[in-house]
Symmetry: C2
Subunit: 99 residues, 2 copies
């Protein structure tokens, strides 16, 4: 049945609101650091960290740690797999709500 | 900040996947009975009941109980408020993922 397939096509990893916010931001910006994401999404450090870890563990984002002068900086970017998953999610969602 | 507003604009009542499925189905079909929704969304009775109750309690759907011959039949339809909420959700979501 078509509708059943569509409901399953909504990737749970991306559907969660904070993760959807992270992926949308990273797709738009190409990459972003922790503080940018925190400010843009209006979420706590702990909440953001939790969801970044989920995205990283699923291979949807990659993490780069570096020093800018003496300050550590952590930058996040979507992987190719993350980009594909995000695009599939958006396509499934649009088909779903426009059915 | 624009992105913060958008994240909050994603109505939590509608964002949950089963409820999103119910609202999408009812917006498309106008109305539907319990068994139709259950089959279309591939969810259990208990799961569907729980989410229908949430939507009803928030005034997003109305419930009509009737007898067809001797069989009870329960039909669900979006209220005007539910239609407005769904449309606002879709608009917010599209702005969000296309940002």
């Amino acid at each position: 049945m078509a509708t059943v397939r569509k409901l399953e096509a909504l990737d749970d990893i991306i559907h969660q609101k904070v993760r959807l916010g992270v992926m949308s931001s990273l797709m738009a910006a190409g990459e972003a650091d922790f503080n940018f994401l925190k400010g843009a999404l209006g979420v706590s450090d702990g909440n953001l960290s939790t969801h970044l870890t989920v995205l990283e563990e699923h291979g949807y984002i990659r993490v780069r740690k570096e020093f800018v002068g003496k300050k550590p900086r952590t930058t996040y970017a979507p992987t190719d797999e993350g980009r594909r998953a995000f695009e599939a999610y958006v396509e499934a969602l649009e088909a779903f709500v426009r059915a």
